[in-house]
């Protein structure tokens, strides 16, 4: 069964460094999402992406964040200058976008980002 994959599973970085989190959504899916979960808190929406552009973003998704789909298979989240408060689990999700999909999103296993 197709799955969403994410790499790396754990990323440790120094404050101020750039990180790129990678996701491979399910191949025929059209909508892509990033969420994050700070330890002990709820999973929060960051951004959605459709047709090679951002369709919606949250207040969390400021100028330090960017997303792209560079090659038609990968979907990346870049944090330009990491802060301590960016430490969280980051989940990628995708959705087929068809009428029968009932808006079900398929999630990756997450990347745990630790900013020191």
């Amino acid at each position: 069964e197709p799955e969403v994959t994410q790499t790396p599973s754990h990323q440790v970085t120094q404050m101020g460094q750039e990180v790129i989190l990678r996701c491979v959504p399910i191949s025929n899916h059209l909508y892509f999402y990033w969420y994050r979960q700070i330890l002990g808190q709820k999973v929060e929406f960051l951004v959605s992406f459709y047709n090679n552009e951002i369709s919606e973003k949250s207040e969390i998704f400021d100028d330090q964040f960017s997303v792209e789909r560079p090659d038609g298979s990968n979907f990346t989240l870049k944090i330009r200058s990491t802060k301590l408060e960016d430490s969280a689990m980051y989940f990628c999700a995708s959705n087929a976008g068809t009428s029968v999909s009932y808006n079900e999103q398929f999630f990756g296993p997450g990347t745990r980002l630790t900013v020191l």
């Binding site: 999973v43 459709y50 989940f91 999630f107």
Partner: protein, 115 residues
């Protein structure tokens, strides 16, 4: 703004018993979707069950069923005949169209099934 509340951070149940996980939400929308996702330890979230708000009938998927009370904005998950493999974090999620179908999650309930 929509919110989702799961008031039970942790629960435990004996194998073969029944357990109910609670979820309430707040929205002014009339058309929306509700989901329960399961996240086993160190694994990705997988869909357990979904409910369309326009459907009055409660969704069921094998041992999993929901009690959807639209007026009360309540969406509880019942797991019957609990199995050890049901041990996981369970997230309640809400979505409606707002330019995209982003999910609003609750904080999760950690369920442990005891042998």
């Amino acid at each position: 703004a929509q919110t989702v509340t799961q008031s039970q951070p942790e629960m435990s149940v004996q194998e073969a018993e029944t357990v109910t996980l609670s979820c309430t939400y707040d929205t002014s929308e009339n058309n929306y979707y509700l989901f329960w996702y399961k996240q086993p330890p160190s694994r990705q979230m997988i869909l357990v069950i979904r409910q369309e708000a326009y459907k009055q009938q409660n969704a069921t998927e094998n041992r999993f069923s929901v009690n959807f009370q639209k007026a009360a904005k309540s969406f509880s998950l019942k797991i019957s005949d609990s199995q050890l493999g049901d041990t996981a974090m369970y997230f309640c999620a809400f979505t409606t169209f707002s330019g995209t179908y982003k999910y609003i999650f609750g904080t999760g309930t950690r369920l442990k099934v005891l042998a």
